[in-house]
Amino acid sequence: MAEELLQVRNLQVNVEDKQILHSIDLDIKPGETHVLMGPNGAGKSTLGYALMGNPKYTITGGSIVFNGEDITKLSVDKRAKAGLFLSFQNPLEVPGISLSSFLKTALEQQRGVRIKAWDFRKELRQAMALLQMDNKYAERDLNTGFSGGEKKKAEILQLLMLNPQLAILDETDSGLDVDAVKIVSQGIKTFQEHRNGALLIITHNTKILEALHVDKTHILAQGSIIKNAGPELVEEISKHGFEQFLQK
């Protein structure tokens, strides 16, 4: 049995005083790709935030173990350094910080060493080329004035640069045009295949999954995981919706 990379046990999460997630169990092994689907407002983003450690989402019970370490109480930056990544459903705009200087700072914090400007630029150019992003974006303020699709591409750029062990992608495909979905999907595939990265993909759309290998699928509804299955479940949901699962 391979060691679990992520082990979520009986996780309960509140926003302010309202319980959003009830009792979540989730196991992800290194290199595995899991798909998380569910109706709007089910709590998918909440799960992503709670795993990443957003202080607005209070963990009231249960535990998160990552790489054998209990990270339930760990600060956000330490989780990131431990190898966790979240691609935001709505990436924040941060004026006055260029995408490239932000990424360089993040990489330096992660690696604990200064990176030579030249080496960094080479790495960045490569990743941007893969995502067919114009180099000019690197010098623009982080997400500021980026279109919805550009923000999502910039998230995947960060994923490729930071190279975590587990990436949670929260509706990275929403807002992308047909071509962009393909490009982003290629980026994710690179992460999956060449870096053996594990993924938890939150999506409403199966398009992004077409080119990707999927190991497991979960349905989250009203704050609980109501179904765990293999990749075939994706197809079924896209044909018939969630209705049949919700009735049970």
């Binding site: 956000v76 930056d77 990436p91 924040l92 700072t105």
Partner: protein, 468 residues
Amino acid sequence: MEEKTFVEDIDRSLYDFRNEDKDAYRIEEGLTKEIVEQISREKHDPEWMREFRLKSLDVYNKTPMVQWGPSIEGLNMDNIVTYVRPNTKMQGKWEDVPDDIKDTFERLGIPQAEQTSLAGVGAQYDSELVYHNVRKEVEEQGVVYTDMESALNGPYADMVKEHFMMLVPPTDHKFAALHGAVWSGGSFVYVPKGVKVAIPLQSYFRLNAKGAGQFEHTLIIVDEGADLHFIEGCSAPKYNVANLHAGCVELFIAKNAKLRYSTIENWSKNMYNLNTKRALVAEGGTIEWVSGSFGSHVSYLYPMSVLNGEGAHSEFTGVTFAGHGQNLDTGCKVVHNAPHTTSVVNTRSISKSGGISTFRSSVVVTNKAKQAKSSVSCQSLMLDNISRSDTIPAIDVRTADADIGHEAKIGRISDDAVFYLMSRGISEEEARAMIVSGFADNVSKELPLEYAVEMNNLIRLEMQGSIG
């Protein structure tokens, strides 16, 4: 994460080192006719200047203390030493500057910057310049950059006399009068017609003496079609008694000339910074103020542009950071006094740990200024609930066709943005510092790289230890 502790004392060792006082001459504390006469003698003033000083002292004695703005009660003129001459003549080579003073400027990075990115440097230590040097190429262009004392007695004496405290007369306010009486140090710059100085000149003012005042006078004349970037830096170690800075900057921008005047001010937090800066801009000329105010206990600072010729333009880009114990009253004034004059004011103010930051802007459009255009934008960032940030705009328009815009915004650091940056492995402190630096990028992106880096370091210093 939730718990935040405030550590008020940040590491200022970079700026906060003191040298033992080894001054050659130090005048008595206080302000009397005798003291003013003595300064005049020490400085070998021409006769007109001696009279000017005494008249200014008169004005000073008749003018009441400033009653508006932050309190300056902690400032007692009877305790201020108005003139401290360092233990050296002005030198043209760093090797010749005494070691302790040279070390000071080395720690501040001045000789290094001079090597790489400046056309000339003046370094003032207490009341007088200890070093002055201009690159040969620049000198060959006819650019004059010298200390005020030499200027008063040199070939440009008449030009100095004609302009000295013409824009800021001693009657302007009490501290202008004080300046007129006891000024010393500072620089004189003349850029001849059509000369474009490719890289900046810099003056650095360091006040080392405890309980002293610094009253440097900067006079810059940029002749027709010429172009100059002048950088001013200042700092001082912290003492537990009041220090005073009442400098004066007068800038004359002739027809179609352009001057950029950049300042990174980082006085120590016992300093009363009551500085006056003014620019007179002729037809088609441009003044660009770039200003970062970080230090001092109390500041009153409102650089003013008088747009006196058709199409003259003023741009003010500023950031003010008020931390614990600081009350920084800053802003800018623009007088549109000719047709088609334009002005842009873009400022950011940050307050933290109980600091107070007030931004005053004043835009005056006289009846001569047909089709004047002005836009003022001020954004404030408050880093906690105990700090304050106010915006006080004043607009006085005497024409029917002026185009005036004003916008003010007050905000806080977004928790979501902090979370976002942290989710990439950046610590909370670093994330906040990045957001604040980003907020102040209106100024940093206008500064030469080294200065932008220094400014971001200052922000980082101020942000240190603000999180538990």
